[in-house]
Structure formats: structure tokens, C-alpha cells
């Protein structure tokens, strides 16, 4: 005896930000998978820097996984997943036609208003939100330069998922682009004084970008990661230290001013 299946949709209708979404396209780049999902409600509301909480299908996972909005095209939301643990591995294996539950868009967005020169700095899977950001900035008429760093040839396969015109890539083993870190790329760039820096990646990279930005007299934003439970401000699980005290990455972030984070 099981209770009559209760229609989840009936209960999610009132949540502007929840969506049962069909995978409409999948592209794979080694351990990275880029999806497109039919998600009109989310695509219609999102802004670069925001993320979605994704239910891992299969029933074996309790918590949803936070994933950045990678692209938005019409009613399609794009995500880029790196298979790391069991959950992201399952997500990376999604096929066209499967459906997933998303909640979002959540969190703060990258401020882009009035930006004419933008420098996007990404490390590893941290590059994910920067595609969407680049798309928006270009549409708004800004000059966009991107510098992405990857660990090794495996990680650098993710670069194939990106379409940014002025993109400099570095990899620590020299497999793709310049040998070195993204900081080596920055050292060679000439950033105009009104450049706004947008950074997303490992804490060490954020720290280095923060110092570099300060030295250059620029301002900027960083998108941070934290382990999350609710993803929506309820549990206080995702706090990070900032100059304003402990803040929640999921609701006060993930985008913070670069000078207030303490990576």
C-alpha cells in the first residue's frame, strides 16, 4: 500500500523559482559536461552570477547541489558541471530527455551597470558563471577580456565549453595556453583604469586576484563557493568571513565586492 502519488507540481506552482526541467542538449568535455535545460521561469529571471540548486536524480542524495548559471539563451538555462563527487558525477551523466528539478535563480548577481571594460578571471570550474557574465556584458557593449586558469590538461578540457572572444588561457602543466597560473596572464595584461574585475575560482586564486586588483587600483567582484544545505538563506550553513562579518554565500552572495571578501 502506497499513498496515491502526490503531484509535486501542485505544490511547487507557487514557487516562482522552482522548475522541473528537461535536458535539451548535452556537450561533454572530459570531466566537464555542459547542459541546456528547458527552464523558462528560471531563464526569464536570472542574472549572471546567480546559481540554481539542482536535485541529484536517483533518490540516493539528500541535498541539492549548487550550480552557477553558465548560459541563458531564450528559455534555456545552461549549466556546466564538473564530475567531482558522487552527486556531480550523477549530474554529469544526465542525458537529453531526462528531467531535473531546479530551484532558482538564487543569490546575488554580478553588478554590470555602466561597465565599459571588464576583466573576467576564472579558475577551473569557477569559470562557469563567467560565460553568462561575458554574454551579458558584450550585449551591453562592454569590452570583455577573460583570463582562465586550469590545473592540468584534464581540467583544461573545460575551456572547450566557453565562447568568449578575448580569452587568455593558462594551465599549470602548459597543456593548453600559457604555462602558469591565471596570475601570470594578468601580469601581462594592460587593464585600463576603469576596468572592473570579476573573479571566480579557488580561494587562493581569489586572494591573489584581490591583491592584484588592489595594486592596480581597480575595483571588482568575487563569486565565492561554500558548502550549502538550503541554498536559500534558511540554515546558515554557507557562511564565509567578510569585512562585514559572517555572510551567507547563498543569499548575501555568492557575489561579493572583491575588497570585502577574506579568502
Amino acid at each position: 500500500m502506497t499513498a496515491k502519488a502526490v503531484d509535486d507540481h501542485a505544490h511547487s506552482e507557487q514557487w516562482a523559482e522552482t522548475s522541473h526541467c528537461r535536458v535539451s542538449a548535452v556537450r561533454r568535455f572530459g570531466a566537464f559536461t555542459a547542459f541546456e535545460l528547458v527552464a523558462p521561469r528560471i531563464a526569464g529571471k536570472a542574472a549572471p552570477g546567480q546559481f540554481v540548486m539542482v536535485t541529484v536524480p536517483g533518490g540516493g542524495f539528500l541535498l541539492r547541489r549548487p550550480l552557477s548559471m553558465f548560459t541563458v539563451h531564450g528559455d534555456r538555462a545552461g549549466l556546466l558541471v564538473e564530475a567531482r563527487g558522487a552527486g556531480s558525477e550523477r549530474l554529469a551523466g544526465l542525458e537529453v530527455g531526462e528531467t531535473v528539478d531546479l530551484a532558482g535563480p538564487l543569490g546575488s548577481a554580478f553588478p554590470t551597470k555602466g561597465v565599459t571594460n571588464a576583466l573576467l578571471v576564472g579558475g577551473g570550474i569557477g569559470c562557469a558563471p563567467l560565460q553568462y557574465l561575458a554574454d551579458e556584458l558584450v550585449t551591453a557593449g562592454a569590452n570583455v577580456t577573460a583570463a582562465f586558469g586550469f590545473r592540468d590538461f584534464r581540467a583544461a578540457r573545460a575551456a572547450g565549453a566557453f565562447a568568449v572572444e578575448r580569452l587568455w588561457v593558462a594551465s599549470e602543466d602548459g597543456a593548453v595556453g600559457r604555462r602558469g597560473t591565471v596570475m601570470d596572464v594578468l601580469a601581462e595584461l594592460d587593464a585600463p583604469p576603469n576596468t572592473v574585475v570579476y573573479a571566480c575560482g579557488p580561494a587562493a586564486m581569489i586572494g591573489a586576484v584581490q591583491r592584484w586588483t588592489l595594486e592596480q587600483g581597480l575595483r571588482g567582484y568575487a563569486s565565492l563557493e561554500a558548502h550549502m544545505a538550503c541554498g536559500s538563506g534558511s540554515c546558515r550553513g554557507c557562511v564565509v568571513d567578510t569585512t562585514r562579518g559572517k555572510l551567507r554565500v547563498c543569499s548575501e552572495g555568492p557575489v561579493f565586492a572583491l575588497d570585502e571578501v577574506r579568502p
Binding site: 500500500m1 502506497t2 499513498a3 496515491k4 502526490v6 509535486d8 501542485a10 505544490h11 511547487s12 507557487q14 514557487w15 516562482a16 523559482e17 522552482t18 536535485t55 540516493g60 542524495f61 539528500l62 541535498l63 541539492r64 563527487g85 552527486g87 528539478d101 530551484a103 561554500a226 558548502h227 550549502m228 544545505a229 538550503c230 541554498g231 536559500s232 538563506g233 534558511s234 540554515c235 546558515r236 550553513g237 554557507c238 557562511v239 564565509v240 568571513d241 562579518g245 559572517k246 543569499s251
Partner: protein
């Protein structure tokens, strides 16, 4: 077996001590933030609030910044948290009450502390505020839940593991309020009925159980403790069988004492199991993290599970798993 009922034939209302609840489900403290949900809701969340009562995150006398991150991660069929009772302290908390005064459901205030004085100070501050505040500026604060069982705060063993210490906290708070007084028990004990009995004898009106199990997760790469606080509290479906056993033990030992059962409820059937073990109300914690619609889904499923088994109300199923 009893023939099934139509969904409409099931009346979900229950009485938790003096509180009349529209149905048995309440949120578990620390896992559900009214204002954050309201921000994301299309309609009037204060009116459509899915739980029968609201239990906010534990508040303490002093402001607390909580534990260093990371604070949460998933475990097999469960999760661990080491939040560490981050909260703004009772004064700031009272200052924010008017923001959600429009909530129509009863509120059970979860109170934390390290000593009887600290607990009593919170209860006193609230009673003082309620005595003078305009009704329209405060929610319906109708009860307290004394959280003597948070495994994530420093300073010796948990109060709830010691019946005498538990009784001292209850006694101090009982002196400050005539409202409905719950005590939230810890599962990290050999015999949960000892603190349960001590709490009731010291004046508690009811009991909530269980809080989380003290546990540890290692970082896969470094093999060092993963949480910033080293240890944290385990909850979710993984612990449900232990929680059910404890609720049944307390129900058997203290018949007639209203119980709020919780631990791993993610479906209506899970909630019904706690009712079968003697709970009047059921708390939902980690399941809130599975989707915004979880609370209303669970309520609907509970109705369906009762109907399928021919139970016209939660009361009809209450305690049927207990020894005759």
C-alpha cells in the same frame, strides 16, 4: 485492515497541549526561515504558511557568530551540520518580531543557552516584551522549546545528557512563563527516558525529540575533520530508525505527555510513523533542503497515507506501534 477513506474524510487537526494545530507538521528549529521563504513565494506566505506552527532557529541571550565554516555536508542518506547556534541574541531577535507579526500560525520559540540563567533570561525577555507590546507588532508566540541538545556548542557535555542539569534549565524557565513549554531532548544518551522524565517533573508540558547525533565527517583528500567545528550533528533519513525507537520509548514511559517527534522525516509516511510511535506533532528538518515545496508535499502525503489506511485523523493512528 480498515477500508481506505477519501482524502476529504481525513481531519488533520491535532491538539499539542493547549495549541490547536491545523495538522501535525511543524518545522524543526534551524532548518526553515520564514522570511527567506516569504521572499521566494508568489502569494502571501504568512497566510499560506505550510507548517501548523513555526519553530524559528534557536535564539540565545547573547548574540553568537557560530562555528567556522565549512558547516554542512551530505552523508549517506543524511547530512551533518555544525552551525553552532549562530543567532543575533534575544534583544535583536525581539527587535525583528514586527517583521513577521502577520504570521497567522502559533510560534514556538526555540531557546538555547549554556546555563539555566541564560535560558531563563531569554524566556523572561520575551515575556516582558509580550506583556507590553502591541498585539499587532508580535507574532503569536504561544510556546517555548528549550533546546538542551545542540551538539555543536563548546563547553562540556550537553545539558540534555544530564537529567539534573535538564531539570534545572526547565525549572528556571518554568518560573518565567505559563506558556506551553517543550524541552528538546538529545539522542546522544543511553536512556532517553531519564532526561524526558526529569524535564516533565521539573515542569515541562511536552517534549521534542530528537535533536542531531554528534558525528564526524572527514575531508576525503586530507582525512582531517571536514567541519570547521570538527564534529557536528547528524540528521536526515539515516537516523530515522533510532529516532523512532526513542520517541516510542518516551511515549511508553510518559503516556499522555505531548510529543513532537522528528528525525529523518522526508515523506508523509515518515511523519505517520512518528505518530504511530506516539508523537502528536512531527518536526521536519533536513527535508526542507530538498525543495521549497517539501512542507506542503509532506502534509498532503500524510493525509493520503492516513486515508489509505482508513485513519480519519492522526489521533486514530497515534501510538499504534507501541506495546499494548
Amino acid at each position: 485492515m480498515t477500508p481506505p477513506l477519501e482524502l476529504e474524510q481525513v481531519m488533520l487537526a491535532v491538539e499539542l497541549g493547549p495549541l490547536r494545530l491545523e495538522h501535525p507538521l511543524v518545522d524543526a528549529s534551524g532548518t526553515f526561515d520564514l522570511l527567506e521563504y516569504a521572499r521566494r513565494y508568489r502569494g502571501d506566505f504568512f497566510a499560506d504558511f505550510p507548517y501548523a506552527a513555526y519553530v524559528p532557529k534557536t535564539v540565545t541571550a547573547d548574540a553568537r557568530t557560530g562555528n567556522p565554516p565549512p558547516r554542512v555536508t551530505e552523508t549517506p542518506s543524511g547530512m551533518i551540520n555544525g552551525i553552532g547556534l549562530e543567532n543575533p541574541g534575544i534583544d535583536a531577535w525581539i527587535g525583528g518580531l514586527s517583521e513577521w507579526a502577520a504570521l497567522r500560525r502559533p510560534v514556538i520559540v526555540s531557546v538555547g543557552g549554556n546555563s539555566p540563567d541564560q535560558y531563563a533570561a531569554v524566556v523572561r525577555a520575551l515575556e516582558t516584551h509580550l506583556a507590553s507590546a502591541f498585539a499587532a507588532t508580535v507574532p503569536r508566540l504561544e510556546g517555548f522549546e528549550l533546546n538542551v541538545s545542540c551538539p555543536n556548542v563548546a563547553g562540556g557535555p550537553q545539558i540534555g545528557a544530564d537529567p539534573a542539569a535538564t531539570a534545572a534549565v526547565v525549572g528556571a524557565c518554568r518560573a518565567e512563563t505559563t506558556r506551553f513549554l517543550l524541552v528538546k531532548l538529545t539522542p546522544n544518551v543511553s536512556d532517553v527516558t531519564l532526561a524526558a522524565r526529569a524535564a516533565v517533573e521539573a515542569g515541562a508540558d511536552g517534549l521534542s525529540l530528537v535533536n542531531t547525533f554528534k558525528a564526524m565527517v572527514l575531508d576525503r583528500e586530507t582525512l582531517r575533520p571536514f567541519l570547521g567545528n570538527r564534529t557536528g550533528g547528524l540528521c536526515g533519513p539515516a537516523i530515522k530508525p533510532i529516532a523512532l525507537r526513542m520517541v516510542a520509548e518516551v511515549a511508553q514511559a510518559l503516556p499522555g505527555v505531548p510529543l513532537v517527534g522528528m528525525g529523518g522525516v522526508i515523506s508523509g509516511l515518515d511523519a505517520l510513523e512518528f505518530i504511530a510511535c506516539g508523537a502528536t506533532a512531527v518536526g521536519v528538518g533536513a527535508a526542507n533542503f530538498t525543495g521549497f515545496e517539501a512542507p506542503s508535499r509532506i502534509v498532503a502525503e500524510l493525509r493520503a497515507e492516513l486515508a489509505a489506511r482508513g485513519f480519519a485523523s492522526p489521533a486514530a493512528a497515534r501510538g499504534i506501534a507501541l506495546d499494548a
